[in-house]
């Protein structure tokens, strides 16, 4: 009798222990089931704070009017979106939305919001707020009017339902709804004036705004009303403008994490046992755009010869310490899987042959504008210059200050110009449509065929078909080589070894919900 009681007790205890350790996830503070998208590290303790250092301060908290990378990354912690990119960037996961349906004609999207959503101040978050927030972006103008061009009508028939109508089927819808400007703020800014609201905003995202000492640091605190509250109590975004100082301060433990890691200081980080260097895939592509109105560049043989003469692997290894990959088009490999690599794979012999077939067999000289303030870009362009010299082409380097280089580029008053572009949405549509809208990124290149393929890809709802169409579009364009793709940089962060749960999406969004510094 006693022994069987003991057996039962032991079994019950064992079962209880097994159940507790079984799943790595426990119900969260609200008592709801854990979010299937949350990837909590088992054993990560809630609480604590981390400090993240960037090279510049945010410019403001207005999600539609303010631009600048740091501004975007910080705002993404404050304003949640209907959908969010998955960390691997391959797809989108629901954030504020629970699910969505698409009408048969593909023109009407119906979104259902999660139940019980609240802003950081406790007021309910309804579809009316989402409608208001999307209309704020759509009516802003500039880049946003381009992104939201398909949003014909937005309606909120009830508190948890949002309807968006488009005039043509629009595949990038969810991707655009994951973009920073699609973040949700209270309708009518909760009765406040727009500028006043954005000085001290109410948050719908994982963190809420606490304070901002401009140029120094911004403090965000956990938003307990977010449906998947973060582990951390507090996140502090600090500004350290000087690259060297930032690296040294990280090494000496003055903060937990830093972004904008300069390539020249990689060894300081990799040699330190207490620091970890993380490289995340990114939608960034660095390229040289060729002005088609320059005589030499009007010959496709010349353009192809130049592309074949560039040894992208060597640049990735020597200048970026392997933390970059060769680019094969103007859309990152993370967005379009199959790239037309044959036109941009290093082959010096083939390059020489091509040039021999062109109208300039003995080479020629041209001027490249590039931002003179970046050391890395300078080295990169030096490397390209040396490589082109091997086939008799002289690239004269012309470092310009930011505004000047850009102005020349947009107005077409350049021969060749360096450009670095990233997509803000995890979808190839942005770059594809921008390319067509800007006549080949201001190179003067036009292709009816490519434009049609891009438009088809934008309106097809089949992911595989879209990938196929984008690959075809890139092939059509890159066989003419209107621009020379060079490199796709990785997005670098460095942090103390004890920081866990940190991830970054391919368009640069920081995932801080699961971060723990303990």
């Amino acid at each position: 009798m006693k022994s069987s009681l003991r057996l039962v007790a032991a079994t019950v205890t064992a079962a209880a222990l097994l159940m507790a350790c079984g799943s790595g996830e426990t119900p969260d503070a609200n008592g709801d089931e854990p979010d299937p998208t949350s990837t909590e590290t088992p054993g990560a303790t809630p609480g604590g704070e981390i400090t993240i250092a960037f090279g510049s301060d945010a410019n403001g908290l207005d999600k539609s009017a303010v631009i600048g990378e740091e501004s975007i990354w910080i705002q993404q912690q404050l304003y949640a979106t209907l959908y969010a990119p998955t960390p691997d960037g391959r797809s989108l996961q629901p954030e504020l939305a629970d699910e969505h349906t698409l009408s048969d004609d593909g023109l009407e999207w119906t979104f259902t919001l999660r139940e019980g959503l609240l802003f950081s101040d406790g007021t309910p978050l309804t579809a009316e707020d989402v409608k208001f927030s999307l209309e704020e972006s759509r009516d802003q103008g500039g880049l946003l009017s381009f992104l939201y061009r398909a949003f014909a009508e937005i309606e909120a028939p009830n508190d948890r339902t949002l309807v968006i109508r488009t005039e043509e089927p629009f595949a990038p819808m969810l991707a655009i709804l994951s973009e920073r400007s699609a973040g949700v703020v209270p309708a009518d800014y909760g009765g406040r004036d727009r500028d006043e609201f954005y000085e001290n905003p109410v948050s719908s995202g994982p963190f809420a705004f606490e304070s901002w000492s401009r140029g120094e640091e911004m403090v965000l605190v956990r938003n307990d009303n977010y449906f998947d509250p973060p582990l951390l109590d507090k996140v502090i975004f600090k500004v350290v403008t000087d690259d060297n100082a930032r690296v040294l301060q990280l090494r000496d433990g003055q903060f937990d994490m830093m972004g904008s890691v300069p390539f020249s200081s990689l060894s300081t980080i990799t040699e330190s046992e207490d620091l970890e260097l993380r490289d995340f895939p990114w939608t960034n592509v660095e390229m040289i755009i060729l002005n088609q109105s320059v005589e030499a560049f009007s010959d496709p043989h010349v353009r192809l010869a130049m592309s074949l003469a560039i040894d992208r692997e060597a640049i990735a290894n020597q200048i970026f310490s392997g933390l970059a990959q060769p680019a094969h088009s103007f859309i990152a490999g993370s967005l379009v899987d199959e790239q037309p690599a044959e036109y941009s794979t290093f082959d010096l012999e083939a390059a020489r042959d091509r040039l021999a077939q062109s109208a300039f067999p003995d080479g020629f000289s041209f001027t490249l504008n590039y931002p003179g303030t970046s050391q890395t870009v300078g080295s990169e362009m030096q490397a390209v210059k040396q490589q082109l010299a091997q086939i008799g082409i002289e690239m004269v380097l012309r470092p310009l200050e930011g505004g000047g280089a850009e102005e020349a580029w947009f107005s077409g008053e350049y021969e060749a110009v360096y450009a670095s572009l990233s997509s803000d949405i995890p979808d190839a549509d942005f770059m594809a449509t921008a390319f067509t809208a800007t006549a080949g990124l201001f190179s003067g290149y036009q292709s009816e065929e490519a434009a049609i393929l891009g438009a088809q890809a934008a309106s097809s709802m089949d992911e595989d078909e879209r990938q196929r169409l984008y690959s075809e579009m890139l092939d059509v364009i890159m066989q003419d080589m209107p621009l020379l793709p060079i490199i796709e940089q990785s997005n670098l962060y460095a942090h103390q070894a004890g920081v866990t749960g940190f991830d970054v999406a391919i368009q640069g969004q920081l995932f801080l919900v699961d971060v723990s510094a303990r």
Partner: protein, 311 residues
């Protein structure tokens, strides 16, 4: 005095107007359009035109200038294209940091220069004099940002004696946080002051009234403080006024190294982004500062040397 001050104020207004116009002219002919920065690469020509319209960039220069002057005299320094905040708020936020830096570095410069110059002058041509004149020249040769980075590395990071950047809250924290940046500036400035002050002190030490004081038994520090300094100071004060004026623009580099959000870094950011209203307003503030420092030095002459009459 009233007449003198009103004349100076009149001059000031002219100088500021001239600077404002020159800055506007230069910005106008410099390539770079804030419209593209703000609106992105997909901006259509219509959107760009609308942007220019909104910010009054299409109006002829005299009209833009008139508008700028009109708003400035009422205290409205415009709205930043980039942050959409009133420029006056942005300047007020950053102004104290730069002022602290300028005052603190001047005080440190004086604390270094006056004793060293005095020792050098009193022990003229002796080893101490040569050492004092030669060694600080190293300070002039080294670029201030390099000095700043070295001090940052050694004193802030290695030995944690000072914070590695930032401004701190409250006066005591400011004194501590701004020490390294200020001393970096002082190291570059002090040598010139030492030389100038020493040279005029030597001249004064040779004069008859000093010989008379010496014969009465006045020596060393008392001699310097009560008799020599006031007479020797004037050329150095001129130097001080000029170098403060130059420093106003020169703090950009130090602010960058030590992550100090002051007016220098504001100007740098604004120029990079072609944030025209901010550039114009900050240039005006810099010009006003230079004029103000010159005024202060002229008034100081009157204070130090009773023979000087301000006219």
């Amino acid at each position: 005095m009233i007449w003198y001050m009103s004349k100076r104020l009149g001059h000031t207004a002219l100088v500021l107007a001239g600077v404002a116009f020159l800055v506007m002219l230069l910005l106008h002919i410099t390539p770079g359009d804030p419209a593209h920065q703000m609106l992105g690469i997909t901006a259509t020509p219509e959107e760009i035109a609308e942007f220019h319209e909104e910010y009054g960039l299409n109006d002829p220069l005299p009209v833009q200038f008139g508008r700028f002057v009109g708003k400035t005299v009422t205290g409205d320094l415009g709205t930043s294209i980039f942050t959409r905040r009133p420029v006056r708020d942005m300047i007020t936020e950053r102004f104290p940091i730069t002022v602290w830096l300028l005052v603190y570095s001047s005080v440190l410069t004086a604390l270094i220069a006056v004793p060293l110059a005095s020792i050098a002058a009193l022990r003229r041509d002796k080893p101490a004099d040569h050492l004092i004149r030669a060694i600080p020249l190293i300070g002039v040769g080294m670029p201030s940002f390099w000095v700043g980075i070295v001090l940052l590395y050694v004193l802030a990071l290695r030995f944690s004696l000072f914070p590695a950047g930032g401004y701190g809250q409250g006066a005591t924290e400011h004194l501590w946080a701004l020490f390294l940046p200020s001393i970096s500036i002082a190291i570059g400035q002090a040598p010139l002051f030492i030389r100038s002050l020493r040279a005029s002190m030597v001249e004064v030490l040779d004069s008859e009234f000093v010989a008379a004081a010496r014969s009465r038994g006045v020596r060393g520090w008392r001699l310097i403080m009560w008799h020599v300094l006031r007479n020797a100071a004037i050329p150095t004060i001129t130097l001080f006024g000029v170098s403060l004026g130059l420093l106003v623009g020169g703090v950009v580099v130090i602010e960058a190294v030590f992550s100090l959000p002051g007016l220098g870094s504001l100007m740098l950011e604004a120029v990079t982004r072609r944030d025209l209203p901010v550039i114009q307003a900050v240039a005006l503030v810099f010009a006003a500062a230079v004029v103000f420092f010159n005024l202060v030095t002229d008034l100081l002459y009157g204070v130090i040397d009773p023979r000087v009459v301000l006219r």
